[in-house]
Amino acid sequence: MSEAYHGMIVFIGISGAAIIMAITGIVVLLLMALFGVRFIIHYHRRRREVLMEKQLMQEVFQRELLQAQLETQNQTLQQIAQELHDNVGQLLTVIVMRLNSLDDKYLHPEPAIEQTVLQTRDLVQTVIMDVRALSKTLDYDTVRRFGLTPSLTLELERIEQIGRIHTDFVMSGGVYSLGEETEIVLLRMAQESINNALKHANAHTITVSTAYKPDSFILTVADDGQGFNIEEANARILEKAGAGLNNLHRRAGLLGGTCVVDSQVGGGTRVQIRLPHNRMI
């Protein structure tokens, strides 16, 4: 074997090996990169899906929780309403009857006594009416049977009857059903807002308005009371902060809507709940 021939074989051998190795290297490197990138894409997609699934599960859980809370609250309130109507209402009626019989028994009592009996009877009559009105607003059957607007009107009438605060109800747009559950939640939210105004605002007028727009429904509860500083209220530590505002935001969120509380010290408070139309729990 000549030197040159041997050298050529060695050269061909090495270059052949180098070509094989280079091609393999490039192909494997590309496959590795492809695999790595594909896995990363798949990984991130899966993470997004898992996160969305988790979020959805949390949302469903929150809704179920809200529904359970709502059912418990409604049942309790209905029970109270029934008790007020059947028990307290009946007892008050009995008191009126007793007063009537007292009036009949003593035909000519002293004028002062007669006056007292009459006043007491009127007071009890008022209490009976208040109790009945209260029992109606507490009972979610009213919302079921008559809808949100009549229930709100009833609630405002009841507050008006107390005589301390003037109420207004403004409605715009063609009324449509928001769904039984949604309307019950909205009524409770309105009651919560009105209750806040009664307790803290020292207001003269409470205005409730409903706007039935084609794409959204807006419920607004506004008062002309002393208002409050929202930033301060938000900054309060959890123990001191009331659950009312948080509840409003949470419930609006679970209905798929938003709740905006706008207030200024001395400028009253305005709670606006906006729901997209056709969104129901």
Binding site: I20, T24, G25, Y43
Partner: protein
């Protein structure tokens, strides 16, 4: 003492150089590497340690190779590294190193236990393979079955790692994790080895050129593995892999 190094083929020399650079890269970046990656320094070190005694058994790559070894001839030499990789003692050591690497990489305790338990199991299999020489494979063949088993074990570990990643609860960025890229390279290295080792005995008997080419391809997988190790040691990932 270093005569055997000089006698090596250029392919083996590149391999050993890459192994040496990998060792150096891990040492240089020691402080910023995760503990599981530090373990991998043992892999090239084990190769160097076992390479020297093995060099005394310097022989042609194929038993039927009649060509005489020539120190000046790179082409017809022994491809010592691939012979070393195919040897049972080195396979046991390398598997133990990789199992410890995976043990430190996995999060779930049950998987960690399984990986640790596989080390004595693998050692036991090596003993079975040694005592049953000639039973499943002819004595003059490479002990490829055992290496195929090693490849299967490591490939399984790689897939378990990927599955664990997908089931991970934390916010994690695999693209910014050195371990991820090392496992990807390990996966490809052992998938390549699986087929090449499986082909060697058959090709050695029927077509030596094919076997030799397969061996070269095996080297390419090794080069890529070491290159990835070197790269991940030096690349500075700007953000943490956990958000």
């Amino acid at each position: 003492m270093i005569d055997w190094l000089i006698q090596l083929s250029i392919i083996d020399k590149i391999y050993l150089s890459l192994a040496f650079v990998t060792t150096a890269a891990i040492l240089v970046n020691w402080n910023r590497l995760d503990p599981n990656l530090k373990i991998l320094i043992l892999y090239p070190l084990a190769l160097f340690a076992s390479g020297y005694p093995y060099a005394s058994k310097f022989k042609p790559f194929f038993p039927n190779d009649t060509r005489v070894l020539n120190q000046e001839d790179d082409y017809y030499n022994s491809l010592i590294v691939i012979q070393l990789n195919l040897s049972i003692p080195f396979s046991v050591i390398s598997y133990a190193i990789l199992a410890i690497f995976f043990y430190q990489t996995f999060i779930q305790k049950s998987i960690q236990t399984r990986v640790l338990a596989s080390i004595p199991l693998f050692w036991f299999l090596s003993k079975v393979n040694t005592y049953s020489t000639g039973t499943w494979e002819p004595v003059n063949n490479f002990s490829t079955l055992f290496n195929i088993v090693e490849s299967v074990f490591v490939i399984y570990c790689c897939f378990v790692y990927f599955r664990e990643l997908l089931n991970h609860d934390k916010q994690y960025r695999p693209e910014k994790d050195r371990t991820f890229w090392v496992v990807v390279s390990l996966l490809f290295y052992f998938i390549g080895n699986f087929f090449i080792t499986g082909l060697l005995n058959y090709a050695g008997l029927t077509d030596e050129d094919l076997a030799r080419n397969a061996a070269y391809i095996g080297y390419t997988f090794s080069y890529l593995f070491y290159s990835v190790l070197i790269l991940v040691c030096f690349i500075n990932f700007p953000l943490n892999n956990y958000e």
